[in-house]
Symmetry: C2
Subunit: 305 residues, 2 copies
C-alpha cells in the first residue's frame, strides 16, 4: 500500500493520486538526471517525527541544488494528508510499544525538461519488516571506499556532498556489493581513511570507560565537515543522550575507532538504531553490551519528537 | 515535440506513449534513487549513428548496476519506431549539410520498488539549437575537481565510474556552477590532478608538430582507466582520424597538456565537436587553428556511422 500526495497550488492540502497509475512525465529531470532531493521520516501515531529537522535539511538540499521547492506549510499539509489517507486505507498494526508507524517520504525533482517548475510529492508506506529484524539482531557491515577525501566537500560544493539528492545509484550499488559478499550494510570511508556514513544511515559509536572514578559513557559520530549528511536521528539522539548524562564526541574517526568501540550503530529515521555486530568480520564489543546500549539509547530516542 | 516509445514485450516494435501524459509510476527507482542507465545518440536521416557502440555501452552500464535490461533487438525496434514517429509528427528541418537530425535517448531504470522488472523507453526529440552555436563559436570552460583520484575506479567498482547512470545530479550541479561563473562548460579533473571528462562529454586535444621533418598531427584523449566513460564519439573519431593520418595518444593528461594544446574539444554524440576557446580564462591555441582543426575533424566524424 502506497499513498501519494502531490503538492499542487490548486490543492492546499495536497492532491491525492493513485500510486498504481503513472503520475510522472518520462521527461521529468528527477528520472532523466537524478536531479532532485528527498527526505524520509517516520510518522508515529499520526505525528511526523523531527519534522522541522527534515524540512530544514530538505531546504538545505534544495539550496545546494538551486532548486525552488514548495514552502514548509505546503509540505506539512501534504504530509498530514498522506498520513491520514494511509491510516484510513491501511491502518498499520501497532508495534511492540503499541505505536503505529508510517514511512513518509518527501521528494522534489527539477520537474520536466523545459518546464522550470519542480515536481513535489509525499509518499506514505508501511515500515519494512526487515528493519525491526535489523534492530533486534544487528548487522554485518563492510567498509567501502567512498572515493572522496574528507576535505573535498568544503572546497567542491558542486559535488553536493551535504545534500540528500535523488542520485543514489552509488549508494544502491554499494549495498548490492555488500549483499553479494554476505554482509548486510556498508560504512563508507574517505580516500584518506576517515569514517563517513552508511549509504542510507549515519554512523554512531559508544565508548564506555570505567577506570575506578565515575564511569563515563561517550557517544561519538563523524564530524560533518568530512562531507557527510547531517543525520536528523543522530542529532535528536545526541540531544537526548546528553540530557541523560552521556558525553558527546565528533570525529574525525578512523576504522580502528569503530573496531575499538563498545558498540557501533547505523541510525536513520526509519531504521532507528541498528547495532553493528561486526565490521569486515571483526565483532564489535560483545553481544551483551551491544544489546544493553541499544536498549538504553533506543529508549532515549523514543522520547524525542 | 517529444516522442516516447516504451519497450514492452506485448509490443515488439515498442509502445508509443503520449509524452504529455504521465507515463512513470512515482515509485520507480529511476526517480526515487536515480537507479538506472541511459544513452544518448543521434539519428541522421533516420539512421541511428554508432548504434552498436551505444548499445554495447548500455549493456556494460547495465552490468555495472546488475540491471537486467532488454536485448539489442528490442532497443533497435523501439529506436526505429521512435525515429519514424518523430519524423512523421515533426519533420526536422535539414541542417547546413542537408541532413535531418533527431536526438534519441535510451533509458532503463530498475523499475518500481518491489516490481523486479526494469522500465525501459526510447525518447526522440529535436536537436537543441544551442549545440550548433557551440560548434560554431566554441566554449569557455572551467576546470572543476571531480573529487575522485584517477585510480579509484579500478579498486572501487561500486562507484560506477565507467557506467552511464541516471544519477547525474553532480554533473548538473557542475554545469550550474560553470554558468554562474559566466563559463559554458566544465572539464573535470581528478583529485590527483589528471584531466578526466566533461559532465556530458569526452575531452579531446590536438597537438601539431612541424619541426622541419614531416608534420605530425596528434589527437589525444584521457586514458579510460582514470574512471571516465568510454566516449563513443571519441572512439569513432579516433578510428577515422587514424585512417586520415593522425597519430593517436591516450592520457594520463594534466591541465598543462590542455593549455599547451593547439586545440581542445568537448565531444559527444549530439554536440559532436565543440571547440574549447578558453580554459579558466586562458585561450587555447588560436582562433584560426581551432577553426581549421574543428572543420577537418568534423568532416572526418561526419563520415563515420
Amino acid at each position: 500500500m502506497t499513498v501519494l500526495v502531490f503538492l499542487d497550488p490548486a490543492h492546499p492540502d495536497g492532491r491525492i493520486a493513485d500510486a498504481g497509475v503513472p503520475a510522472l512525465l518520462a521527461t521529468d529531470q528527477g528520472v532523466t538526471r537524478g536531479d532532485g532531493i528527498f527526505e524520509t521520516l517516520l510518522a508515529v501515531n499520526g505525528a511526523p517525527r523531527k519534522v522541522q529537522a527534515h524540512l530544514g535539511r530538505l531546504a538545505a538540499s534544495a539550496q545546494s541544488l538551486s532548486l525552488d521547492v514548495p514552502g514548509e506549510e505546503a509540505w506539512l499539509r501534504a504530509i498530514a494528508t498522506a498520513v491520514g489517507a494511509f491510516a484510513s486505507a491501511s491502518p498499520p498494526a501497532p508495534d511492540e510499544d503499541g505505536n503505529t508507524n508510517v514511512v513518509v517520504k518527501l521528494i522534489a525533482t527539477r520537474g520536466p525538461e523545459g518546464a522550470g517548475s519542480p515536481t513535489s510529492w509525499v509518499q506514505a508506506t508501511a515500515v519494512p519488516p526487515a528493519l525491526a529484524e535489523q534492530r533486534a539482531h544487528g548487522l554485518a557491515v563492510i567498509l567501502l571506499d567512498r572515493g572522496y577525501d574528507s576535505t573535498v566537500a568544503q572546497r567542491a560544493p558542486w559535488l553536493l556532498l551535504g545534500a540528500k539528492t535523488l542520485s543514489y545509484a552509488v549508494n544502491m550499488a554499494a549495498l548490492r556489493h555488500a549483499h553479494a559478499q554476505g554482509a548486510d550494510d556498508v560504512i563508507f570511508t574517505s580516500s584518506d581513511g576517515h569514517v563517513l556514513e552508511g549509504p542510507t544511515s549515519s554512523v554512531l559509536l559508544a565508548h564506555l570507560k570505567d577506570d575506578g572514578g565515575a564511569p563515563v559513557k561517550r557517544l561519538i559520530t563523524p564530524s560533518l565537515d568530512s562531507g557527510i549528511l547531517p543525520g536528523t536521528t543522530q542529532g535528536a539522539l545526541f540531544t537526548a543522550a546528553k540530557a541523560a548524562g552521556w558525553e558527546l564526541g565528533y570525529g574525525p574517526l578512523v576504522p580502528a575507532d569503530l573496531l575499538d568501540a563498545d558498540a557501533v550503530w547505523l541510525v536513520s529515521s526509519i531504521r532507528l538504531l541498528a547495532p553493528v555486530n561486526s565490521i569486515d568480520g571483526t565483532e564489535i564489543g560483545t553481544a551483551e553490551v551491544r544489546a544493553r546500549l541499544t536498549a538504553e539509547l533506543s529508549a532515549l530516542l523514543a522520547q524525542t519528537h
